[in-house]
Amino acid sequence: MDLAIVWESLPRLLEGAVLTLEITFVSLLAGLCLAVPVAIARLSHRRILWMPAYGYMLYFRGTPLLVQLFLVYYGSGQFQPLLDQAGVWFLFREAYFCAVLTLTLNTAAYTAEILRGAIIAVPRGEIEAARSVGMSGLLLYRRIILPKAFRLALPAYTNEAVFLLQATSLVSIITLLDLTGVARIIVARSFEPYKLYIAAGLIYLVITYTFVLVSRRLELRLSGHRREQPVGGVGSASGR
């Protein structure tokens, strides 16, 4: 089999992979920042907080990402005067911005759901202990609930990050030259879909497994508090 076309295209594919990684990381980071307040609002007893959070999560988890992407990219044009007035139209003209915005909103909704479950799973007794020394509100969240919840959420969150990485391939449809976008263009010119999509797929695979490895490392480091983890010869005088 002649792989010359793959080697020739490799630099451009890798360029596309850089854009893929960039979109993934920017969206993950922004999504995480958004997910924390959304998850907390979702768990609030106040209707004015949980209802908007619930509606947001319902929409973004309940509709296809591609539809959301089209809605933002093509739909925003209908509101051009309004967006112009707000001074943000120049952003919505950019496919890059629309892609990152959509992916951020999408991953934030899923991440908020993951965090919601993790927050609920934080042992009640540890929260009561924090209350009993006068902690409440943001301090309680920041010091006790969220650090515990993040640890509990990490495996599920890794899944979400991998899912998002792969979902970024959709942005090629709105003209962005990410890894999939580059592959599509080369395929259109060379009529060699097999080789190029397999090459692109392998690059996704490498990135995905790097994600998973890093996450596993992180999990090990953060779980020093868990007894199951073999930590160099710590003998514990366990009575239980």
Binding site: P123, G125, E126, E128, A129, A130, R131, S132, V133, G134, M135, S136, L139, R143, I144, P147, K148, R151, G224, H225, R226, R227, V234, S236, A237, S238, G239, R240
Partner: protein, 279 residues
């Protein structure tokens, strides 16, 4: 009622506390006062409301009626929009809680922090104690409860007795006026009970004001100045520990002390003293 007019405020005063969970009346008008240096043992069968009493004092459970004074300061209660009784000022509750140390049956150490971090967390974040001073104080407390060499371990690597001693150190780090201990040895294996009781005994000797829910009758007799026996959500007997524990007036309390409540009566011969004096 104007007991507050006295020259010395009770460190803790509970007046006519009521609490129901659904249709279950757990507390039906409990009153008690703990003066400085008092060590009060709270006893009672399971379901008699002992734990709920402690939890209502620092508002982990919200009492349906009644008043709690800490060092003469009344915890103000109000009602939320749905008509539920709730603290009128959440910040007052936070402040009051810093003055009431709580030790839980299941320790409830923060599992993502080391023993040392558990102890300095609240003094630094809640009281605003400078880190260095908090660390020095923590080291002092850790020596006191015999855990200095475990200071950098995570709770999962400690035995139950060590966990509970760490939890006691965490509560003491706040320098509370009153220490509430909710069955501090009930979750421990028998051979670990002694090390925790020893620490509590030391605290009593220091003159700490404490309210201890306990089943350890010998310990209560040796350490507590007063004993309260709760039955069906009410104080059914109270007085100086030796007197109350040695000469229980009610049949109910006598049965409890002889172990009848725990179903042991079927296995062992009930005796008047129930358990041996603690060492």
């Amino acid at each position: 009622m104007t007991p507050d007019a006295g020259p010395r405020e009770a460190a803790l005063r509970v007046t006519n506390l009521h609490k129901a969970f659904g249709s279950l009346d757990v507390l039906r008008g409990v009153s008690l006062a703990a003066h400085e240096h008092d060590v009060i043992a709270v006893m009672g069968a399971s379901g008699s409301g002992k734990s709920t009493l402690l939890r209502c004092i620092n508002l982990l459970d919200i009492p349906d009626a009644g008043e709690v004074h800490v060092g003469g300061e009344l915890i103000h209660m109000g009602f939320d929009r749905r008509g539920q009784r709730t603290p009128a000022d959440p910040r007052q509750v936070d402040r009051i809680r810093t003055r009431l140390g709580m030790v839980f049956q299941r320790f409830n150490l923060w599992s993502h922090m080391t023993v040392l971090q558990n102890i300095v967390e609240a003094p630094i974040r809640v009281l605003g104690v400078p880190r260095r001073r908090a660390m020095e104080q923590a080291d002092h407390l850790l020596r006191k409860v015999g855990l200095y060499d475990k200071r950098d371990d995570f709770p999962a690597y400690l035995s139950g007795g060590q966990e509970q001693r760490a939890a006691i150190a965490r509560a003491l780090a706040m320098e509370p006026e009153v220490l509430l201990l909710d069955e501090p040895t009930s979750a421990l294996d028998p051979e670990l009970v002694g090390e925790v009781l020893k620490v509590i005994d030391d605290l009593a000797a220091e003159g700490r004001t404490m309210l201890i829910v306990t089943h350890e009758i010998g310990f209560a007799r040796a350490v507590s100045s007063r004993t309260i026996f709760l039955h069906q959500g009410m104080v059914s007997e109270q007085g100086p520990s030796r007197q109350v524990l040695d000469e229980p007036r009610s049949e109910r309390f006598r049965q409890f002390l002889s172990g009848g409540d725990w179903g042991r009566s079927a296995l062992t011969t009930p005796s008047q003293s129930g358990e041996n004096e603690s060492p």
